[in-house]
């Protein structure tokens, strides 16, 4: 089993500036490699404290690549729905080149309504846009002089540059949501799996579904599973719990979301009023 860092920025400008957050995160990354952590991962989100400091994971990971020598760099995850696949493939090719082939590409469908609203993308196109964007990304990274025509994007005899160091392409990970179908699809398509840990009783059958689908489709091995955990370790339980409970250390999966809802509902009318007529 291997361990790495997840930098899911759960911060607002009132808590930490971007300047401070990334300086600290990069210091930890550099030190963490010496302590045996083997990957660094970050998310793609927008506009809110829930992950919003990382609209492009490749930017942070490119900096992390220059502070480390062996750590894998993991997008956890990029969101094809909000990206032009031609741009995304090129950026990820750069990152793979700049890190000497240490990139792992996690992709996800996106689920936050405020992001779809801001980009003007209907949420009911989420599945189609994800499938098409991910398919385009795969073909652009693995094939030269490629053409495709989709519902949202197309290209004609394009070679994405730079070509990835890892051939035919960097490893792909698919973020599964809470549905059994998403675990099944990740497995049957032969991708590695990223997920948020649910309770063991819920998680166990979902991972079984993934592994069975992976094997049944004849892919080599059993597929890899990456889970993201909140972690805070202190010399005593009391110290660890005091530090986390008192809000010195919150959890993005719950507190960040509740803050998002609070600020989201309050800010929207203000922004509307501030718009020049």
């Amino acid at each position: 089993m291997e361990f790495g860092f997840n930098f899911f920025p759960d911060v607002s400008p009132q808590v930490k500036s971007g300047q401070q957050y990334f300086r600290e995160a990069l210091n930890l990354v550099e030190l963490g490699e010496r302590y045996g952590y083997t990957h660094v991962r970050t998310v793609e989100h927008y506009f809110q404290p829930y992950g919003g400091y990382s609209p492009n994971p490749a930017v942070f990971l490119a900096a992390a690549a220059q502070r480390t020598r062996t750590m894998r760099l993991v997008t956890g995850a990029v969101l094809p729905v909000f990206n032009n696949p031609l741009k995304l493939a090129g950026e990820l090719g750069m990152l793979d080149a700049m890190s000497n082939g240490r990139l792992d590409i996690g992709v996800a469908r996106a689920f936050l309504p405020h992001e779809f609203a801001a980009f003007g993308v209907p949420m009911d196109e989420s599945r189609e846009r994800f499938e098409e964007g991910f398919a385009a990304l795969r073909v652009l990274l693995s094939t030269e002089n490629t053409s495709f025509t989709g519902q949202f994007h197309h290209c004609h005899h394009i070679t994405s540059l730079p070509r990835p160091v890892q051939q035919p392409h960097p490893p792909f990970w698919v973020a599964a949501l809470a549905t059994e179908e998403s675990f099944y699809r990740a497995g049957s398509n032969g991708y590695n799996l990223m997920a948020i840990p649910l309770s063991g009783a819920v998680m166990r059958p979902l991972l079984q579904t993934y592994r069975q689908a992976y094997r049944a489709a004849g892919h080599p091995g059993q597929g890899k599973v990456m889970l993201a955990f909140h972690m805070y370790c202190a010399p005593t339980d009391r110290e660890a719990h005091d530090t986390t409970r008192l809000g010195h250390c919150s959890i993005p999966t719950c507190s960040g979301w509740s803050r998002l809802r609070q600020t989201g509902t309050r800010r929207l009318p203000k922004t509307t009023r501030a718009t020049p007529r």
Binding site: V11, Y35, L198, F229, M231, H248
Partner: protein, 74 residues
Amino acid sequence: MIAALKRQNFEGLVASGAAWVGAPQTIKDSMQRFIDAVEGFDSASLQVMNGPTSEADAERSMRLFAERVMPAFR
């Protein structure tokens, strides 16, 4: 997805093994329960610096985990 996230809270995450908080031995026990419950997995991404966590606290926690917890699972 959103509903699932909203149902989570601090105590629930710790109790289910989805958040690893405590002294090294507590975390080891919690991890082992979770690993057994899901029949193992390959890679854990640890969120070591949340919200206003200071860099010094995050660094101390990360070092302690690496020295006292990680070796038991390698």
